[in-house]
Amino acid sequence: MDEEEDEDTFVTIGTPLEPYEEDEVIKKPTRVQDQTAHDSKGRRRFHGAFTGGFSAGFFNTVGSEQGWVPSTFVSSRSKKSDTSVSQRPENYMDDEDLGEHGIAPRKVAPTEDFASALKKRHIGEIVGDGIIPGASPLGDIIVPAKYVQMSSWCSTAEKTGMEGGSGGRAEGEEKGKTETETVCYCPTFSPLEEESAQKVYGCSLPPENVDEEESEEDEYAEGITFAPKDVNPICFTPKDNLHGIGYHGIDPKTALFGSSGHVSLFEPATVSSGRKKGITGQAFGIGAFEEEDDDIYTVDRLSNYDRELGGPEKDRLHGWTAPKHKGDSMQLAIGNMSAVLKNFKLSSIKCQPKKIYPAPQLPRDFRPYHTPSTAPGATRAAYIPPPVRQTLDANVRGLMLGEVPRMRPTGSVFDVLATQKMEPPKLPQTQISFTLGSSPAQVKTETPNITGQSPVSRPHQPLDTASPANTPSSSTSAGFQPFARTPEKQARYDTFLELRKQGKADTYEEYARKSLTEWESRQEAAEFVRAAQLYRPLSGSMATRFTKARFDDTVSSAELPEPDKGEVSAQQKAAEMKLFGKLTRETTKWRPDKLLCKRLNVPNPYPDEAAEVRKTKREKFSIFNFLSSPPQPESTTPEPGQETVARAAIEPPSNNRTETTNTASVKTESVQADPAVSAGESKTQPSDGTRPPMDLFKAIFGDSSNSDSSDSEMEPDIALPTPVPTDAVVPPLPDAVGVAEPLAPTAASMTETSNGTIAIEAVAQRLEPSVDSTGVTTPDNDEKASLPFGPALPPPPATQGTAQSRVKTSRKHTHKDKKHKHKSHKKKKSRHKKHKKQQKKHRTKLDTDSDSDAEDSDDSVPTDTQLLKQIAEFAS
């Protein structure tokens, strides 16, 4: 009883396990993987490969027991088939799917977004929010901005054109502004909603057509009414930039893509082109309630471009509020500004425009450089130098005091003249007479000029400006100081020049001997002689190269001037007098090229030299090119027999043009004179006209193999570097008598037998100049004794031939100048002339034994009587 009672009184919870049977085999519990889910009808819910698939249709198949039955298209007259045979997802769903927990519940409920307020409230109830318990009043009013932004309400309302009092916005207002507005609304669900709603499961298909979409968008349009706006909503646009108030930059949207939306290219801008069918728009990310972005993929069209000239003015500012129409006028600009800046008012008070003073008009020929007015002539007279404090020397001070200035002796005639004129010393004239060496004519012309000038500054001028033309005798190196490095030497040089001017150049050595040894003074005197020749004032040396212009440059049609009779050379004079023949003929040696001779079938007249000429030509860019010696004058008859005669004619100066003077010997003569020059000149006068011949350079710089081949013509040249003690190659000069013997065989062996005499002659000739030069007692030639030691003299005026050869040289070089444009060459030319002149002077002194054959020299212009004399000689 107790047991029964006990059993009755116990409460059992759950289903009891079945009692074990003794001999029952215990079932293994089903493992997790073996457990299957079943639906309400006992059908297996999950199946498939990973048992994750849907259970759909009939026993995991579709439709029926037979499987999927294709729907047939039937359309009759009575019952027209629905064109839109819809294969809707619902067709494939069972009631489980459509049930509350299925994937497509049939229950009508607001979507998450719409339910947000509700949910919030619900949450609020649970949590209990804030100050006001139980309710969140603001929550009713304020809808999250996201919703408003994303809702298609705005665009819908826009499209339906809600205007006026129905709460719609004004047309022109921009979307952006409305987005932030707070809007109250009260949605009411309409029965239509269910039908028209097209549900989307999973990824949404692209909208099928416009109507459908629009109808979808319009889902709220019909049932929704909006309260009219009674208050103008104030929009606050946060200022997030640093621009000024009211300033807008260029709106890139309108600027880049045009003001209206995207339309296809080339089409005229239609107002609203409905979208075509097909797949358009974005692929991802756009939900049903999202608004489309503005055009990302811009389609440009031609109407964006201004294709007209002067068409209607477009607004090119694109929202930019910058000052417009800057160029037009200030007023317009201001007007524009006021239009832009809404909150500002145009001032009624006009500002006075700034007065601008224009820059002065420049004269047309104005040049922005300052040219000091030191030009000679008229401008100079007008120029009044500012009073400058000057260091006055004794003369000037004396002048100011009215003393008669003492003249330095210059040896000029004008000195005497000036002193005589000055005898009654008057103050204004004394200034003028102070002009040393200037001619009286110049003094007169200068008188009116000095009126406006202070007497102090004036007296210096004549000294400085005294042109070398006016003082022909003065070789003072005014401003040109070759020995500026050693002031003592420069001082001695100045005194030397002074002495020379007075014609007492010989006395210099005595003067110098006070401070120097005898040898030194002699050396220095020689140096000074050279220097005086070289460093003449530049204007003087240049003057020899130019003639005065006969016509003004402005005169366009100047007739060619008659050739100056004085400048006509002897040849031309002879030609004018129709004395053609010897007077007009000049014969020089000319070496035809070996190849030229070959081509013309002519034996080479200089079989040995041709090679040498050729060789020098080959060396195109050699230094020797610039040193190449010009062709030497040659006698008309190159027969060796005449050379002995010619040589005799060398010692007295003779005209080698008319006479049968051998230039080979002439060359040796000049060459012999050269060592003195070449030894010492290198530093003072690098580009002297009488440069040593090519072979000297070659002997020094080139390889010695060339110089070994000695022939009759070249022999003297090779022997040139004799001072260099290379006894093995060339014996020294002084023993030439003894040397002639050993040399002769080589020369003879190299040349033809007929020329053997030449070779010996040539060696013998080398001796003579030294004998000659010692015999002559010019200050120049004295220097020769000391030739290897220091700076040497210009070559002595040994023969007329040398002078002439140099004339040739200079001519040759002028010719080359045209090609090389070598300045040194040009200088050289002028120096040549100087040398020549001096030699001529010397000769006039020295030529006591005037040769009867001495004819007119090359450059001295013979007078007509001289010419006649010559003619008479020729006749006889």
């Binding site: 050379s569 040849q571 031309q572 002879a574 030609a575 004018e576 129709k578 053609f580 023949g581 010897k582 007009t584 003929r585 000049e586 014969t587 020089t588 040696k589 000319w590 070496r591 035809p592 090229d593 190849l595 030229l596 001779c597 081509r599 013309l600 079938n601 002519v602 034996p603 080479n604 007249p605 200089y606 040659e634 008309t636 190159p638 001519r811 002028t814 010719h815 080359k816 045209k818």
Partner: protein
């Protein structure tokens, strides 16, 4: 006697159609002639028929002088483009274009065997070009002139140049010497008599001088024509009896070589009032003269020769 051998009758005129005719030259045997035009071409003519045989184009500027080789196989020409061109006559091709002159080439000349081309230029040089090798470098450059080399001729062993510095230079290859004769006035043209003994030099003072080649003495002096501006040619008749010279008044002046008197003047009817007859060339053997004036060349023959041809 003289008139029979003197080309004084105008036979024909040929309009060359190559601009101004700068020079007209007989070839070596006198059957053809060359004209140098200002249209950059050289033309080869048969002057007797007026037939144009060939045209040689290749110069870059006006052609100033041309010469035909002794065998008429080659031509040389020089012009204002500073080039000397060595032509092949038959093919009309440029065999060599020799550049080297620094200024326009006034005159060109073959050596006797056409192995060397000599060219004289405004750059004061005479260049000897090798026609036998392909070298572009001249064999030798004669730089003795001081001015524009206007005229040039060669013999078997000499080169004679006339220069605006008033000198006639004779380069003697055999002797290896240069004889410079001063004429005193700018020399525009040099010529050699057929016997090779005398040089005829025309100069800008309106005179022609006949100089003895060996001594340089003046043998005769011819004047009367007008020559002060232009580079006018002169020539000597084939029999060395007459001297012809162009003139600036539209005439050819003919002098007797011996007595120096004007024998006749050959008038050229030119478009201008005073056309300049600047180039002329005498037949090497016959009394036949070619002159060039403006754009035409004129053929002159002796009276007897015309009668022969007519009859």
């Amino acid at each position: 006697m003289t008139d029979n051998n003197l080309a004084n009758t105008l036979i024909s005129k040929v309009e060359c159609k190559q601009g101004a005719v700068r020079a007209v030259r007989f070839n070596a045997d006198g059957n053809y002639c060359l004209t140098c035009g200002s249209n950059k071409s050289v033309r080869l003519w048969n002057p007797y028929t007026g037939a144009l045989i060939k045209e040689y184009c290749g110069h870059g500027y006006e052609v100033l002088d041309a010469d035909a080789s002794f065998d008429s196989a080659n031509l040389c020409s020089g012009g204002m483009d500073k080039c000397v061109i060595y032509w092949d006559v038959a093919q009309g091709k440029v065999l060599r274009k020799l550049r080297g002159h620094a200024a326009q080439v006034n005159c060109v000349c073959f050596s006797e065997e056409a192995t060397v081309i000599f060219s004289g230029s405004v750059d004061t040089t005479v260049r000897a070009w090798d026609a036998r090798s392909h070298s572009q470098q001249p064999i030798q450059v004669l730089e003795e002139s001081k001015d524009n080399v206007t005229s040039l001729l060669t013999t078997d062993h000499e080169v004679i140049t006339g220069c605006l510095d008033g000198r006639v230079r004779r380069y003697d290859l055999r002797m290896g010497q240069l004889n410079t004769d001063c004429v005193g006035n700018p020399v525009t043209c040099v010529n050699l008599t057929r016997d090779g003994q005398c040089i005829l030099a025309s100069s800008l003072d309106g005179r022609l001088r006949l100089l003895d080649k060996d001594t340089g003495e003046m043998l005769n002096d011819y004047s009367g024509h007008v020559n002060s501006k232009y580079n006018l040619d002169a020539c000597i008749s084939s029999s060395d009896t007459h001297i012809f010279s162009g003139s600036e008044d539209g005439f050819i002046y003919v002098w007797n070589l011996i007595d120096g008197k004007i024998v006749t003047k050959l008038h050229h009817d030119t478009t201008r009032a005073q056309g300049v007859v600047h180039s002329l060339s005498h037949h090497p053997t016959k009394p036949c003269l070619l002159t060039a004036c403006e754009n035409k060349i004129f053929l002159w023959k002796s009276q007897s020769a015309t009668e022969e041809t007519n009859g």
